[in-house]
Symmetry: C3
Subunit: 120 residues, 3 copies
């Protein structure tokens, strides 16, 4: 069975299937600086993970798209402060030529495990 | 068990494992315009999904690679006409610096659920 | 249950969940030529797949990020020599605008099946 969270005509916020959830997050604002945009993305990710019955301890793989690799250190600063110790996913990070909105500096694709109901 | 659909020395059209199928599709032609290339990709995807026992209602995650974000609206026009209402996957869309053939404008990576045999 | 292999504050070498492993590999050196960098990535992948109870016959999907599509033929030469016949994954290959270190020419993200303990 497939659970789609907030599907519109183009994409869903998250899709859950067989205990795995797929999520894409983008920034709230096109004008914020990189640190704020990463915080926006990770804040949205927290909320979506919760809706999907997962959480930061369930991350399996992350694909981080930056529009400028000069933002790499700022990304990592916020990312590492956000991640619980010992819970890091596999993570790819590449600089792309652009994102869907000109001011976006980061987009993150996540695959995570549904952790609700699991024994700790 | 892993089912590989049309594997060659470099890649398979699709790989199925534990009820999940991974598919990459590229355009048929290097000279077609973006709308035609998106239709070619989605047409090939329909065929490959069917071979894998899945379909448009089984999409979990899509990674759309465009070579020019100016094609974003055209992509969405064809994509939304193709997708059944309520069946959208999580979708990342980024502009890359290039694809394997110079004339390709779009490449789509898909993760989908095998839906054959499932109760509706 | 989630098994994280060598997690640090930023990423894990591999993450295993429900019989599927996610792995990202980058080159050892920033100065090596493309063939050597691809060999380094695939050599590291061999080692990580083994740690995860998988192997080259378990590959499901690959996302290959090149910084220069002129390296495509060299990538394929090493890739095809490395892959066992009939075992190719679905594979996307895109040129990105940059990777995390300036000299890296290739990064590969892999989804693979855990094959240990499976009947052949």
């Amino acid at each position: 069975m497939i659970q789609r969270i907030n599907p519109n005509r183009r994409y869903a916020d998250a899709v859950v299937h067989q205990g795995v959830v797929h999520i894409i997050e983008v920034p709230v604002s096109e004008t914020d600086d990189i640190r704020t945009q990463v915080r926006e993305v990770l804040g949205a990710l927290d909320a979506t993970l919760a809706l999907a019955g997962s959480g930061k301890d369930g991350l399996l793989m992350a694909n981080v798209y930056l529009t400028d690799m000069a933002d790499y250190d700022a990304l990592n600063e916020i990312w590492e402060a956000w991640l619980p110790p010992g819970q890091a996913p596999a993570r790819a990070c590449v600089q792309v030529a652009g994102l869907a909105r000109p001011g976006w500096k980061v987009e993150i694709a996540i695959t995570a495990a549904v952790t609700d109901g699991e024994a700790e």
